[in-house]
């Protein structure tokens, strides 16, 4: 397929279709409404199903049912809507259902604003809902990467029987960039023999997260933990940028913020200031080891986020106190310019360590 100019939200919708997902349940919310709008037009063309739910509570429970029946399905929302989905996400993780959830994050708390933010990092990476569980979280920084990760998300969900979240911000969702949907090999995935799809010629399947016996619930939790251990072993994704030559400081940033930081790094390069960047792509599983190794090569670390400081918790866990970890963030929909980040970098570098 040739390259096509697409909005991030539309690319996410098209990527789902390319991944063979023909079922979408959602509710409008800025800044991701282009996802349901695109799919309400596109899905009928490809024999798919688009349903506008009455709320995010309903939408998330609809994907619960659809996934339980063994059908590829996804939903999309933004921060306040994701809060409403927390219940169903917990149930889906507990009953091990493969679904994909897009969160185009906006500023909060509460109704907050509609402009880009990264203030749902804690919510996304700490499970979203109640209980002992994890959601695989992938954070693209370009529209092309959003499309690629979206396609991969469905395979990961099926492979691990677990919800997968694509987390972006309003810039990723709204920005237009050329996208190419490459032909890809179909991944060998386990058959969905567990699905509630009519017990024809087999014992009945029961999809549930209820274990009244504490011994059984603990066993279930241990089983899930083993699965997350596998995810942590196999699915860490990150990008290292400008780390081949020596650098004084390492920036850790993801998504749109990482992209801005790349420009800052290029600007400082002209002044012979060398800065490295580590960009986590999987926010869960977090690439702790990669961040630690990259941090060890620097004297200090700067975490840059579109929030008041959330991912910095994981960076500190990765760095284990071996390097000073600074923070720079803007919030509420304010997005720093590359020059602003440069100023902050220079200020830190000028400090006596």
């Amino acid at each position: 397929m040739a390259k096509k100019l697409m909005k991030g939200c539309e690319a996410l919708g098209e990527a789902a279709i390319q991944a063979g997902c023909l079922h979408f349940f959602g509710y409008p919310i800025t800044p991701q409404t282009e996802v349901p709008e695109y799919l309400s037009r596109r899905l009928p063309e490809v024999g798919g199903v688009y349903v506008q739910a009455e709320s995010e509570v309903a939408a998330s429970n609809m994907i619960y049912g659809c996934a339980a029946a063994g059908v590829r399905v996804f939903t999309s929302s933004s921060s306040p809507g994701i809060s409403l989905m927390a219940e169903a996400v917990s149930y889906m993780a507990g009953s091990q259902l493969p679904v994909v959830i897009v969160n185009i994050v906006r500023g909060g708390p509460g109704l907050g604003g509609i402009l880009p933010a990264q203030s749902d990092y804690w919510q996304a990476t700490r499970g979203i809902g109640h209980g002992d569980f994890r959601v695989i979280v992938l954070a693209p920084s370009t529209v092309q990467e959003a499309a690629d990760l979206m396609i991969e998300a469905f395979d990961l969900a099926d492979q691990y029987r677990n919800p997968v979240m694509i987390i972006g911000d309003g810039i990723i969702g709204q920005m237009m960039e050329p996208v190419e949907f490459k032909k890809r090999e179909k991944k060998q995935l386990p058959e969905k023999i567990w699905a509630a799809s009519g017990a024809k010629g087999r014992a009945a399947n029961k999809i549930h997260s209820l274990f009244l016996d504490p011994v059984k619930l603990e066993q279930h939790n241990i089983f899930l933990k083993k699965k997350y251990d596998e995810v942590e072993k196999n699915e860490q994704r990150f990008e290292l940028y400008n780390t081949e030559k020596p650098y004084d400081l390492l920036i850790v940033a993801y998504g749109t913020m990482a992209r801005i930081c790349k420009t800052s790094i290029a600007l400082l390069q002209e002044e012979n200031i060398s800065i490295g960047l580590a960009r986590p792509i999987s926010l869960y599983p977090y690439p702790y080891k990669a961040i630690q190794e990259a941090a060890r090569k620097a004297k200090q670390v700067l975490v840059v986020e579109l929030s008041m400081g959330q991912m910095i918790d994981d960076v500190r866990l990765a760095v284990e106190g071996q390097r000073p970890v600074h923070f720079y963030g803007r919030s509420g929909g304010m997005v720093p310019s590359p020059e602003e980040v440069c100023r902050e970098l220079k200020r830190i570098l000028a400090q006596k360590t």
């Binding site: 739910a53 049912g65 509630a196 009519g198 024809k200 010629g201 009945a204 029961k206 209820l210």
Partner: protein, 250 residues
Amino acid sequence: MEAIFSRPKAMSSTITHYCPGCTHGIIHRLIGELLDEYNLKEKTVGVAPVGCAVLAYNYLDVDFIEAAHGRAPAVATGVKRGRPDLFVFTYQGDGDLASIGMGEIIHAANRGEKISVVFVNNAIYGMTGGQMAPTTLPQQVTSTCPQGRDVQTAGFPIRMAELLSSLQTDSFIARVSSHSPRNVIEAKKVLKRAFGYQVSGRCFTLVEFLSTCPTNWGLPPKKATEWLEQNMIPYYPLGIFKTPEEGKVK
């Protein structure tokens, strides 16, 4: 010897946890018999509620999904839209359907989802030990309205069958009772008609069952049956409220 009475194939041999005199079990049995009669065992997905019937998935021997409290109609929507060839039903209590799940049931009915809802109204929250439900009768005493339901502050009990039959979308909506053999025989006929509409892909269907909760009503089973007849039926009239052929009939 010829067997003249046996367990429906669609039911498992698990012994239910329901209290003596509770009519949840009778309603399960009607579902089992009808799944057999329509030969649906191998193409059915049931959706269980949160409530006393949360373990319905252990009692009916068909594929099952256990939904979050009140969300069964949304879960069923997901199954039916994903696999329109399947027979999909929810089983929900009055707290589940008429309180926390009010939004989900109204919108599933209004979209005309081709699912069947078995709604069990026992005028109380059974599972959590007898608190006030949206269906608790005026003056009825529960653990959270110890002086009796005060309609000045709690409002009047919600008549779900009537409320849902006011929607314009085609549907089949009825109320039956499970408290006497005569009513159970009638209930089965009505539920059969409801299931039939889904089998033929016709419309959304809901059958409200008046049901007993001797334990939380604080009554022995026989008294509970009488209490249902004397108190619930006058407030919750039995009958068919809406059909796809005639529209709103009551």
